[in-house]
């Protein structure tokens, strides 16, 4: 028998879809939930979601590639999201980014194994910039010393 679709189901993704009533308008929520648990969106998960929601894989690819949040590959252990929008630029976000790149020896938006740095465009902490978001925790008035301490703290939590 010829199988046109890889039918190996991603059980977790299937479960999440079911939680959302297999409704295609909840696609973003489903993708968030899967990524939150697995760290990224695998081929298997996307295939399962497409089947569950009865939409094409092309449509899902369109959505996943449109939004900055979704990751197709496993990334670093944790990511420091550094705001580089105007208000943080006005208080030295660019300098902080350069310092962080040297400190962690990674490039902004360039991946990394342990620590990755990602540009964020406004974290809503504009009066207390530069702002950094890590694992859903927000930091304000971040400088070189503080970002080092933040990374050390999260690294300790992860290990």
């Amino acid at each position: 028998m010829v199988t046109l679709l890889n039918t190996v189901e991603d059980k977790f993704a299937r479960e999440i879809c079911r939680d959302h009533g297999d409704k295609s308008d909840e696609l973003l929520e489903i993708l968030h939930a899967v990524q939150h648990e697995k760290g990224h969106l695998s081929d298997g998960a996307l295939r399962t979601i497409a089947q569950a929601l009865n939409i094409s894989r092309a449509e899902i690819h369109g959505v996943v590639s449109f939004y900055h949040d979704y990751k197709r590959e496993a990334g670093a252990q944790f990511t420091l999201h550094i705001c580089r929008a105007e208000a943080c630029q006005a208080v030295g976000a660019d300098e902080l980014i350069t310092e962080a790149e040297t400190l962690f020896d990674v490039k902004l938006d360039g991946g990394g194994e342990d620590v990755a740095l990602a540009a964020a465009y406004c974290l809503g902490n504009c009066a207390l910039g530069p702002a950094v978001l890590v694992n859903e925790k927000l930091y304000g008035r971040v400088d070189k010393a503080k970002i080092k301490a933040i990374a050390a703290q999260h690294m300790a939590q992860n290990s």
Partner: protein, 514 residues
């Protein structure tokens, strides 16, 4: 009896240690203290701001760090004792006292998730009034208040609602746009974290006004804390019977859902947001039809900003006229301004329209934090114009700012000092557009890339005069031929920067810096 201590659990306050401070006070104070989690008062340079209830009123201490806790107890701060961080009675701090707090009346004051506290401070009054009014009467009230969209476009809210009400459809929707992506703005976040029930109340009223029984709040994923608070607030309203079937014992039904964005700035544009709510790419749609006629799932839909909706309960409870008495010209009511960037006293300043830039930046803001002179301010987010100190007498209103070549947008004001390169900021505007364009229309998708390249050529001194012409032409094209404000307004920061600082657009950066 234990002393009530109010500590914000607003993410900005938490970002500078409010949680650790609260834990420290709890550990040391034990049964003597009762800690109440509020929103932020908006005096962000004083965060974490700890308030102690005394017979005279709440006494503020800030900015408190965990290591200050011991000395606060030593100074008997539970009785309002003197300490180097003591700021006096919170409501007498000039920054706060001078404001017109209508939309933000309860933020920082009440326990953000206590419905009891909410009601004790005037909450649900507007909804209760609305439940005994006809939809037409609610719409009329909102129309009369002069309330306009606080998201940026400034469209009269009442007219939008009237259009949706006139549609005959079994199914209608009301959506709160909480995709607050503009840099320098954080009022939606503060409101959702500090007084979430007011947004929900506004949405229920809006739903009743247009005949919608389902609502969505679309919150950006960069606001994890606001998402958590809103989810808890929805649950609390459901449990109390203010959401769901027969709300407040009436015949009205309303269900509210929280949806989370995925890091696309463009989803703050309403048609893009609606696509995203349907689980699709957040691509901008051509108007007409306008959402009020055909929006979410092709049904009549109202999309309003968080601040717009959260202001509605005040209008219904205090009357349209009370609200309309604030403001100037066609800009009625108040605007929660957000002051950020290189500024000594950044925060949230809710004032009636008509306040000048000078008052906000220099009187409230106290100049720059770095102590350097102000070079320019950008008002209205990444698509807003740059204004120089010579224009600071301009009053803040929809029309007055537009006459000055800017726009009020969502009310964000970012201060830049004299070390800022305006060439760099202009280039950033194009770069941001390139990054966040949904890609649907050519002027935005390709124009932004070409704009960035052309600015690079100018910066390098490459045929400057000709490239300035090209840039000018390109800006014209983007302004006139883009589908939405993303492409259409990106030229605004570029052009205002060039107009105010032409000398920075004449060749290599090093030369301009000399």
């Amino acid at each position: 009896m234990s002393v009530k201590i109010y500590i914000p659990r607003d993410s900005a306050a938490l970002s500078v240690g409010a949680f650790e401070v609260a834990e420290g006070i709890k550990a040391k104070g034990g049964d003597d203290v009762q800690i109440i989690a509020t929103g932020s008062r908006g005096m962000l340079w004083l965060e974490p701001l700890v308030e102690v209830e005394t017979p005279e009123g709440r006494v503020a201490y800030g900015p408190v760090q965990p290591e200050d806790v011991k000395s606060l107890f030593d100074a008997d701060f539970l009785k309002g004792g003197d300490h180097k961080l003591r700021q006096g009675l919170t409501e007498e701090i000039p920054y706060f006292a001078k404001q017109d707090r209508l939309t933000f009346a309860r933020v920082g004051v009440i326990d953000r998730l206590s419905l009891e506290d909410y009601e004790a401070h005037g909450g649900l009054k507007g909804l209760k009034a609305a439940l005994s009014m006809t939809p037409e009467k609610i719409v009329e009230e909102v129309l009369e208040s002069g309330l306009r969209g606080r998201g940026g476009a400034g469209f009269p809210t009442g007219i939008k609602w009237k259009t949706a009400l006139a549609q005959t459809s079994e199914q209608k929707y009301i959506c709160a746009n909480a995709d607050e992506g503009d840099s320098g703005t954080f009022a939606d976040r503060m409101l959702m974290e500090g007084d979430p029930f007011s947004l929900i109340e506004g949405m229920i009223i809006g739903g009743r006004a247009i005949g919608a029984q389902t609502g969505y709040v679309y919150i950006r994923s960069e606001y994890p804390h606001a998402i958590r608070v809103m989810r808890r607030a929805v649950k609390a309203m459901e449990d109390a019977g203010w959401l769901g079937q027969n709300i407040g014992g009436s015949d009205a039904h309303f269900d509210l859902h929280i949806r989370v964005g995925a890091g696309a700035y463009i989803c703050g544009e309403e048609s893009s947001m609606l696509e995203s709510l349907e689980g699709k790419r957040g691509q901008v749609k051509v108007k007409p039809p306008i959402p009020a006629i055909s929006g979410l799932f092709n049904k009549p839909t109202i999309v309003n900003n968080v601040l717009t909706l959260a202001t509605v309960p005040f209008i219904l409870s205090e009357g349209a006229k009370t609200y309309a008495d604030y403001g100037q010209g066609r800009s009625r009511g108040t605007q929660p301004f957000q002051l950020a960037g290189d500024v000594a006293q950044g925060g949230l300043i809710e004032m009636a329209f008509g306040v000048t830039i000078e008052e906000i930046v220099n009187e409230f803001g106290g100049g720059t934090r770095s102590g350097r002179p102000v070079k320019a301010v950008q008002i209205g987010g990444p698509l807003g114009g740059y204004l120089t100190p010579e224009q600071f007498s301009t009053s803040l209103g929809y029309e007055s700012l537009s006459e000055a070549g800017g726009m009020i947008g969502h009310g964000g004001i970012v201060v830049y000092n004299d070390t800022t390169s305006m060439m760099k900021m202009a280039r950033y505007a194009m770069e941001f557009c390139e990054l966040e364009s949904c890609g649907k229309c050519t002027p935005c998708r390709i124009g932004s890339v070409r704009g960035k390249e052309t600015l690079d050529k100018i910066a390098a001194g490459d045929d400057v005069a000709a490239n300035l012409d090209v840039l000018d032409d390109l800006c014209d094209l983007m302004e006139e031929a883009s589908l939405c404000a993303m492409g259409g307004l990106t030229p605004m920061p570029v052009r205002t920067a060039m107009k105010a600082f032409p000398e920075e657009f004449t060749g290599p950066l090093e030369k301009a810096a000399e």
